[in-house]
């Protein structure tokens, strides 16, 4: 049974912490009203305590599981202490380890009484040999030399081969000495390309799936699809897929080969340091000084450093290693993972009538194109983005509203039925003013209106491009909605603020240009087939729209400004000149 709203509000205020005297007085009065209320309050306290108990148990279980896993990995690493297996095959292809030699590791495993890992070892040995063969083939291939030592900031003209993608960046400022350079998320990075990040974070994913998180200030060079050179700064390598194993990071003092792991490297003028967070890596001297130190397999929590003046390797405690901010899982999630959009769309260059997009791996390249909306068609993303009113989200899009139309549905997930009237959430233009609407019920015969509507104070010019962003903090209040036009927050008016605790779910696709209840006559379908909906006249968008991004969080003002800046030159350029 649902709590009466007044009771829910009172309890919410009480449990928010440090309740004001009037809240305590109201609680006391409420407790006196009915004996059952003491029981209700006691149940809340008990649930609180039991959740806490459960969470701490799970936390302890997770730590225990991680310790067990670490122990197993530590056993496995013993096998990898045969560095000959990874002998400098890149520099000396003739020294490739024959398969029989790799298999001899198995007998080594047997001697170490590690039969239980025999199957895993077979896999590792085979993978290493396979990787070695691939490496040899790659090194000997035409124009794909692993010796790319591009000192320019742009790749050499004979090597414009994409080998990695800029998958995420956060507050990133890039520097290129010779020419302006401002890569966007989704950009392809080329063989031999050199990148310098002055500020912020960036994540690069090689086409083999290895991830390198860069912490500014840092300077790297992309040697090939599996090798980066770290000239200066901090890099965290994450290799969680089979194909990404044997990812190599070269520093002036050592080469680090991943063996399926997570590790951090810090390069300064005096020293290169490595810390292994998970799994294991092989650390070897660079090709220029092959005898500087013995190759070393490092496992979880191992750390070492090599001084530039002596080239000698020194093992150190993990606590002495540099701190890698982005290697802390919760922070990594915060700075990197969460900065990805949950949905993006852009026009397909090859087929302008279709759109590219992804809900799974959100990368977008702004300024790629727009789609015309004539009132009959729409962009249909399917059954996605079913946000409820207690979930924050942000939606950004470029729009050019056509003139002479007072009401236009821009985008959203909204539907209409008899019980609730219009419901869902959307961005809507009414008399050229942009509205953000979160609706449980609106304009229904049998329901009381329950909705949030916030509207821009000033109208948008028609037949001009505007970058519009709406953010909502999940508070169920109109004050949680903000509107940004062209990167700047704008004054708004609250038209309705009566959503309360009701939901805003709608059985509808997420669409640009037509509400879910309106039947499109032409459809630009994203990731799916044309769908059928109730035929009913909506208020279609007429004009153009482009570069949609949706996030399941509130975007910061700096991010919104950055989205605008990245794509404004495209939309401010006349179409014929693009």
């Amino acid at each position: 049974m649902n709590l009466p709203k007044q009771t829910a509000d009172l309890l919410e205020a009480y449990f928010a912490g440090d309740p004001a005297p009037e809240v305590i007085a109201a609680m006391e009065a409420w407790l006196r009203e009915d004996e059952a209320n003491a029981r209700l309050l006691a149940e809340y306290g008990l649930v609180d305590r039991l959740i806490s108990h459960e969470q701490k148990n799970q936390d302890a279980s997770a730590i225990f599981a991680a310790l067990l896993e670490a122990e197993e990995k530590a056993e496995l690493v013993v096998l990898d202490t045969k560095p000959a297996l990874m002998h400098d095959v890149e520099e000396n292809p003739d020294d490739a380890i024959p398969f029989s030699k790799a298999m001899s590791v198995l007998s080594y495993a047997a001697k170490q009484s590690l039969y239980k890992h025999a199957i895993a070892v077979t896999g590792i040995a085979a993978a290493i040999v396979f990787a070695a063969i691939l490496t040899i083939l790659f090194i000997s291939g035409p124009n794909l030399s692993g010796n790319q030592t591009a000192t320019n900031n742009t790749p050499s003209t004979n090597a414009l081969i994409p080998v990695a993608t800029l998958t995420t960046q956060r507050d990133a400022q890039w520097q290129v000495t010779s020419s302006p350079f401002s890569p966007s998320v989704g950009d392809q990075l080329m063989l031999g390309q050199r990148l310098t990040l002055i500020d912020g974070f960036a994540e690069i994913t090689t086409h083999r799936g290895a991830v390198a998180v860069l912490e500014a200030p840092v300077s790297i060079e992309i040697i090939d699809h599996q090798t980066l050179r770290l000239h200066r700064g901090k890099l965290v390598g994450i290799c969680e897929t089979v194909s990404s194993k044997n990812f190599v990071v070269r520093t002036p003092q050592m080469d680090i080969t991943d063996l399926g792991t997570r590790f951090g490297i810090d390069v300064t003028t005096e020293i290169s340091s490595v810390l292994v967070m998970d799994g294991a890596v092989l650390t070897r001297p660079p090709a220029k000084s092959p005898n500087a130190f013995e190759p070393l397999v490092m496992k979880e929590s191992d750390a070492c450093r090599v001084w530039a003046d002596t080239n000698k390797l020194e093992r150190i405690a993990a606590s002495e290693a540099p701190v890698f901010f982005s290697a802390i899982p919760s922070l990594y999630e915060q700075v990197v993972t969460e900065s990805r959009p949950v949905l993006w769309m852009r026009q397909n260059e090859q087929d302008p009538s279709n759109l590219l997009g992804s809900a799974a791996f959100g990368v977008t390249k702004p300024g790629f194109g727009s789609v015309g909306l004539d009132g009959r068609g729409c962009v249909d993303a399917g059954d996605v983005l079913d946000f409820d009113a207690d979930e924050p989200f942000s939606v950004g899009i470029w729009i050019r509203p056509g003139g002479d139309h007072n009401d236009m549905f821009v985008l959203g997930r909204a539907a209409k039925n008899i019980e609730r009237g219009i419901h869902g959430y959307d961005l809507y233009l009414s008399n050229q003013r942009l509205r953000v609407q979160l609706l449980h019920a609106f304009d229904a015969k049998d329901s009381v209106n329950s909705l949030i509507r916030v509207e821009s104070e000033k109208p948008l010019d028609t037949d001009r491009w505007h970058h519009v962003v709406a953010t909502y903090d999940g508070s169920r209040e109109a004050s949680g909605v903000k509107i940004y036009i062209n990167g700047v927050p704008i004054p708004t008016n609250v038209l309705d603020d009566s959503l309360d605790r009701n939901n805003i779910h709608a059985k509808s696709p997420f669409r640009i240009g037509l509400r879910g209840f309106a039947q499109p006559q032409s459809n630009i379908v994203l990731d799916g087939a044309t769908r059928d909906f109730i035929v009913e006249k909506g208020s279609p968008m007429i004009g153009e729209a482009g570069d949609l991004v949706v996030f399941d969080r509130i975007l910061r003002e700096s991010e919104i400004k950055s989205f605008y800046d990245e794509s404004s030159s495209f939309y401010s350029t006349p179409k014929l000149l693009r």
Partner: protein
């Protein structure tokens, strides 16, 4: 309380341990009603356990054990508020008595309620589960959680309350079905 309960005394720590295990979640619940800071609530539970162990010989077995613990908890809560120079949450003693009675009634159901809660928590969305983890396992403030999940402390407070409400209702429903 059962007539067969052994007479507790300081020489019979097992008697205390058993009783404490039975009552620990209920006493924790009472403290959570008065202290919303999770780590402070944990500290107070520990203080209550310490004080109750030291004074177990003074416990009157004719009273419910949980009621005795709540008496100690009230002192510890008030003392902690005093130490922190904060305004205490004070209800009239008859109100506190009715809350105490509620916990006396709830205590025998605690294990069943914990089982039910596990099932209910499985039904939470990933996002809600994450907020719960950040709040209860990591003990982050509402503002810190807001930063991690892309919103603000106010929205997190509202979300936490809704999650607790949903879980409480789910557990109550499961208990009714069990009867």
């Amino acid at each position: 309380m059962s007539c067969n309960d052994p007479k507790p005394n300081a020489m019979n720590p097992r008697g205390f341990a058993e009783r404490w295990l039975d009552a620990q979640h209920a006493i924790g619940g009472f403290i959570c009603v008065h202290v919303q800071d999770q780590s402070l609530a944990d500290d107070i539970v520990q203080e209550v356990a310490r004080q109750a162990t030291a004074n177990f010989d003074k416990y009157d077995p004719n009273r419910p054990f949980i009621a005795w613990l709540i008496g100690i908890a009230r002192q510890r809560i008030a003392e902690n508020y005093r130490k922190q120079n904060r305004r205490p949450i004070v209800f009239s003693s008859d109100i506190v008595d009715s809350i105490t009675d509620a916990y006396v009634d709830l205590q025998p159901e605690v294990d069943d309620r914990l089982d039910a809660l596990r099932g209910c928590m499985d039904q939470l969305s990933n996002r809600h589960r994450r907020v719960i983890e950040l709040r209860y396992a990591r003990q982050l403030s509402q503002e810190q959680i807001g930063e991690q999940v892309g919103t603000n402390g106010r929205a997190i407070n509202a979300m936490l309350f809704r999650i607790r409400t949903a879980l409480r209702e789910c557990v109550s429903k499961a208990m009714e079905e069990m009867r």
